[in-house]
């Protein structure tokens, strides 16, 4: 067999010029991976709740500070982004909105919605 050129394999992120919808596409995967970490945190929170007040206080102490708050803020962003962009994907699966202009417009909607919902949730959380 002839020696193969070392061509980049899918999903070759390094060779393309970045553009808006492409950044949103990879952000879907990144936010999904972030949410996997969030699920591990949820497991910790739930098992601590089941174990008792002492274990629960340990998790609370880990979360109830500026760093913990920033991490939770990040999870909120990831959740809303993945949810809204996921809906965008489901609409595409239905064969709708696949042209360039629609994809750009729905992408802007996803970003605005993500920031808006995240800020809304955290405004409520901080006022509460």
């Amino acid at each position: 067999m002839a020696t193969r050129a070392a061509r980049p394999l899918s999903p070759h992120l390094q060779i393309y010029r970045w553009y808006f919808t492409m950044a949103l596409s990879i952000l879907h995967r990144i936010s999904g991976a972030v949410l996997v970490v969030g699920l591990v945190l949820l497991s910790w929170w739930l098992t601590a709740l089941a174990r008792g007040p002492e274990a629960f206080a340990v998790v609370r102490a880990a979360i109830d500070n500026v760093l913990g708050g920033l991490v939770l803020f990040g999870f909120t962003l990831a959740l809303f982004y993945h949810m809204l962009n996921g809906i965008r994907h489901l609409v595409w699966d239905a064969g709708l909105g696949l042209d360039r202009e629609s994809a750009q417009r729905s992408g802007v909607l996803v970003v605005v919605g993500t920031v808006g919902l995240t800020l809304l949730v955290w405004a409520i959380a901080l006022v509460k």
Partner: protein
């Protein structure tokens, strides 16, 4: 082209690909309302004392919604991580190991969450 189609015909489909594709989307649809409910629940519980959080899960509706969210989320996450592994891990042994680990960890974490919710709901 005719030759290639006939060559592929007897080999069947690419195994469970379509079932996984459907399950990824089914759980995605379920996670839209479940995810929104979850955010509301976390907002309601933030800063509440331990007894209040336990009381929340003592409600059958809240326990059910949490378990549904856990099942849908871990199933969705399992399939998503599988796709990431399939895209980036090329060495056959590492690929199989990563895929098996993904499935096992997803089932283990999901089960521990469900058991935790049941303990929180029914335990003393």
């Amino acid at each position: 082209m005719v030759q290639r189609a006939s060559a592929a015909r007897r080999l069947g489909s690419a195994r469970a690909g379509l079932a996984e594709w459907k399950l990824q989307r089914l759980t995605a649809v379920a996670l839209v309302p479940l995810g929104l409910w979850f955010v509301f629940a976390m907002l309601a519980l933030s800063g509440e004392p331990y007894a209040e959080v336990r009381a929340f899960f003592a409600s059958p509706f809240n326990a059910t919604m949490t378990i549904l969210t856990v099942i849908a989320a871990f199933q969705h996450a399992r399939l998503g991580v599988r796709v990431i592994v399939e895209d980036y891990v090329h060495a056959p042994a590492a690929r199989v190991a990563a895929l098996v680990a993904t499935d096992l960890l997803a089932f283990a974490f999901a089960t521990s969450c469900i058991v935790a919710v049941l303990f929180a709901a029914l335990g003393s």
